[in-house]
Symmetry: C2
Subunit: 410 residues, 2 copies
Amino acid sequence: MSSSGDGVFRIGILGRGNVGGALAVLVEEHSERVQRITGMRPEVSGVLSRGSGVFEEILERSDLIVELIGGIEPARTYVLAAMRAGRHVVTANKQLLSQYGEELFAAAGEAGVQLRFEGAVAGVVPVVRVLQESLAGARIDRVHGIVNGTTNFILSEMARLGITYEDALAQAQRLGYAEADPSDDVDGRDAAAKMAILARLAFGAPVVLDQVRYDGIRQITQQDMEYARELGLGLKLIGTAERIGDGLSVRVHPAFLSPGHPLASINGPFNAVTVESPEITEITMSGPGAGGPQTATAVLGDVVSAMIPPASPPEEMVVMPIITDVMSGFYLHLEVADEPGVLASVARVLAEHAVSVKSVVQKGMSDQARLVMVTHPVLESLFFAAMDEIGELSVMRKPPRAIRVIEEEF
Amino acid sequence: MSSSGDGVFRIGILGRGNVGGALAVLVEEHSERVQRITGMRPEVSGVLSRGSGVFEEILERSDLIVELIGGIEPARTYVLAAMRAGRHVVTANKQLLSQYGEELFAAAGEAGVQLRFEGAVAGVVPVVRVLQESLAGARIDRVHGIVNGTTNFILSEMARLGITYEDALAQAQRLGYAEADPSDDVDGRDAAAKMAILARLAFGAPVVLDQVRYDGIRQITQQDMEYARELGLGLKLIGTAERIGDGLSVRVHPAFLSPGHPLASINGPFNAVTVESPEITEITMSGPGAGGPQTATAVLGDVVSAMIPPASPPEEMVVMPIITDVMSGFYLHLEVADEPGVLASVARVLAEHAVSVKSVVQKGMSDQARLVMVTHPVLESLFFAAMDEIGELSVMRKPPRAIRVIEEEF
């Protein structure tokens, strides 16, 4: 599609950050290759930044709009206006997609244009394309993802060097992997937005950020890491989107992974996604998390796809109830008085809530003891009810702490 | 595209093996989902097997032909005839693509039909699609792959259980991962065909099986595995396709991988491919190797893509010289007489051929000694010349053995 018909495909870029700059360079460098593939020469027709450019003028002279502003407004208004004006849109904006996805997909469908967003999820790891196309013939049961490179770097450094969360975060900030205010990353909200987008792709069901439960990594301690090292487990911030009966659960939380799990060996500022389906057992994709050049490459891949018309008709949505209570195994960490009967009282509370214990390690430390248990999978509501009750036992020296455990199933 | 215009898309299947059977079931099971995505209902219009069906009749009533016969003839004749009759073709036939790729791609281009072949390379691991589409904006420097699940299973079992090659092969045969005559797999020829296809995709250069050098795993010993375990290295059958200056090298051989390498942790009957590019550093994809259901899923994904017209115009080919002499690090295993001066003579020969030694381990064993060296990367021709000369030293007790070493660069 070229509005001008002169063999040039004009790309308007909104936003002049790292990604926008890298994209302009890539378009220039790869224009011959893209022309070989698509038959048209790509050209940047304008860049809108805070200080320069007028959106309407750039829109007028573009065949496709790349939105790299981020956040909700004015990105949402621009993207909707571009699609209504018949322009394809490529965006890397996870906030926008995870909160206003339905509005955007509906607008794309009505206007008959493409809305592509590989760069919004896992940088250059092509999970969007694979879910949309390669796995069109597979029923997907579950997606697990490490979709935030910042937190994966922090956890990897804590594991590798035995340092605290605070020191690892400072290290990530020094290296440019974490922002001055890291809340969105370390509290799990960034990963939750990406999992909402992935859930939509995997299950064809509208999922918004508000429906994703999430937990971050601020509370992870060196002791948790020691335990992980002793048992050969990887401790990761894991996003999960899974089919449960006719419903769907989407959530983000730290989890211990068994050594055979394909995400257990993903270290550093990397992203990785595992897709499980009865037809394929599982596939895993991994690569560097979003940085300027990586995201720009993903965006250019989307631009090239959009240059090859027409779009596939959008798949109809199905409605699936969101399930909030799911089965998980748990690691339960208790600091207790070192006196007779403690293990018995804890075990009694667990049993009353149908929580079955898989392994126990107890370590004495002068007048108190550390009791670490791993449970079999159990409904989370039952586990947390048990944990609340355990927290009220008089022998507890600190509030109990829990981290989920994910076993490799294949 | 539907030749009949009644909203039904007719799929003719050539070959009634595992994959063909699994595909027929998948088409039936997923027909509603495929209709949601493409707007057309897929239907199997005929199955050609040795005993039943007539090719021309099936062709006549099909919109797309899936070729699952394998081998060169009659598959080649059927595929060419189908494309010339204006039918899209999906094939999982690596022999055909790696030997007659140019003829097939030219025929597809002339007829304006799609030729898709995800199932021919890494089963359901979507490496073809990712190379063709996601990475259209990236200059690819190197592809490393574990593209044969049989050999990866055998090597994994040797490492895990400390058993011999013969015992691991027998185990693979019992479990159905290896055929009664495993030559194509264990000699590296199957992997070589797949690497020829991947090289073509990654570099846009015509590469045929005959241009791929390959080595198998029959000669791998328990001692090699012990060495790998001691140093934490993974020993894998690795396919490599890489850009070297203006040329291209494509090869398959066993190699030690450093522990950080993304392919080092791929165990069992799995496939995995790593793509390196300056824009993205690297991405890795992994999943189960080709089995009936996996390959059928990949084939159905290709069918769905072909149902969404039109094809992207085929990218023009570039010609790149094939380079046969490349740089590699080596593990060199020598059984020598335990007498003074042995290390000195070996070291002298290596130095004369500009082979620089990175580490040496020498173990005495009564009257003879085992000398294991790891070299820095060196032109392979120089290394092999040195190894030949070392083999002629009077102190050698057995012919010297070498295995390549691949270090993680990122």
